[in-house]
């Protein structure tokens, strides 16, 4: 089931793409779909059922990727059109084929093959982001499904199947990092996470004005990837699940067996850490541009 949280991310993203968030105010904290302006065909249909008191609680709607909708953002800006983008939460069970837990538990191989096909790509991507090594990521992928096969009877459906798989994969990835730890700790202690560490910002360069093609150039993309690798692993896994894989705070807490407060704290620290790293990189790009002018 799609949560209001997941939906909110899509709208934030769509608005940010229009360049509004960075300069004109804060992102939508409360908004409501006023009407659909334009419907596109050929993408996933995403039935949206909003919960009571959630951000978009008043309407029930069915939207497709790239539908343009009109939002009421009265506290921020009277009305704003936005593009509904639902491409990120690839582990969503609505997008993937419906799978029968009963069939999986009864040992139905065909159903298991469908499970592997539906979820192997996001699990592999998560492992690649976490470990930055193809062989290690492949090992995590295989171990995740081997363990899922072995322990499907223990799956109590308290979380979604997707979250359960992420949980197995996250454990596998963290175990792999710990096994490799003796080699890394000798040279690099920065990957240890210290709860008490001060994460106050030290870089105050405003690089938001850099053009999009520079912010997302191939060099910048590899810098974004490298920055993730410099996060302590306990922050890295939270950031990957929440911001890259699009899990909600609740799903991330289930996947990592952490409280939601701990997830929020680690997510904030991860984001602040990445901001510092990117500020160094983009600040440099900004200086290069001023020299060239």
């Amino acid at each position: 089931m799609h949560s209001g949280q997941a939906l909110r991310e899509r709208f934030s993203l769509a608005l940010a793409r229009q360049g509004k968030c960075a300069t004109e105010g804060s992102p939508p904290g409360k908004c409501e779909i006023l009407r659909t302006l334009e419907k596109r065909q050929g993408a996933h249909t995403v039935p949206v059922s909003f919960r009571e008191n959630d951000m978009l609680a008043k309407e029930k709607a069915t939207l497709r990727c790239n539908d343009r909708v009109l939002l009421d953002l009265s506290w921020w800006k009277r009305e704003q059109s936005a593009t509904f983008n639902y491409g990120k939460h690839l582990m969503s069970e609505k997008i993937s084929p419906e799978l029968s837990v009963e069939a999986l538990k009864s040992g139905d191989r065909n159903e298991f093959a469908r499970l592997v096909d539906a979820y192997s790509a996001p699990i592999y991507r998560m492992a690649m982001k976490m470990l930055s090594n193809q062989q290690d990521a492949e090992d995590v992928l295989q171990n995740t499904f081997l363990n899922a096969f072995k322990h499907i009877h223990d799956f109590e459906e308290r979380s979604s199947l997707a979250t359960w798989l992420y949980r197995i994969a996250a454990n596998e990835a963290l175990m792999m990092i710990r096994k490799q730890r003796p080699e890394t700790t000798l040279t690099d202690t920065s990957l240890e996470y210290d709860e008490g560490e001060d994460y106050s910002p030290v870089q105050f360069v405003d690089w938001c004005c850099l053009p999009e093609d520079e912010l997302l150039s191939s060099e910048a993309r590899s810098r974004l990837d490298r920055a993730i690798q410099h996060l302590p692993e306990k922050l890295r896994i939270v950031f990957i699940l929440r911001d890259l894989e699009g899990l909600s705070i609740e799903e991330t807490s289930q996947a990592l067996n952490l409280s939601q407060t701990a997830v929020k704290t680690r997510l904030l620290r991860a984001r602040l850490n990445l901001r510092e790293q990117l500020s160094s990189y983009y600040g440099e790009r900004l200086r290069d541009r001023s020299k060239a002018i």
């Binding site: 992102p27 939508p28 506290w75 592999y124 405003d206």
Partner: protein
Amino acid sequence: MTKSAECKSLLESLSDYIDGTLSEELCEEIQRHIAECQDCHIVVDTLRKTVYLYHATASEPATVPTNVRDRLFRSLNLEDYLKH
């Protein structure tokens, strides 16, 4: 509250603020603060941009290389379900 204490207190709410999950009241408090504090204004804008950039790169579809998928299906004894 001193200015630096205000900055520090704002920092704790930043994720919720940029995710749009903060209460309206606290949002207004943050907006009032960043209107007067240039450093915090930059931190908010660049933090939001940081998250946006990662969201933008993550929205590209995930794929598994064919040889990795083949080995995965074989390791699970599911090779009879392999189709390309």
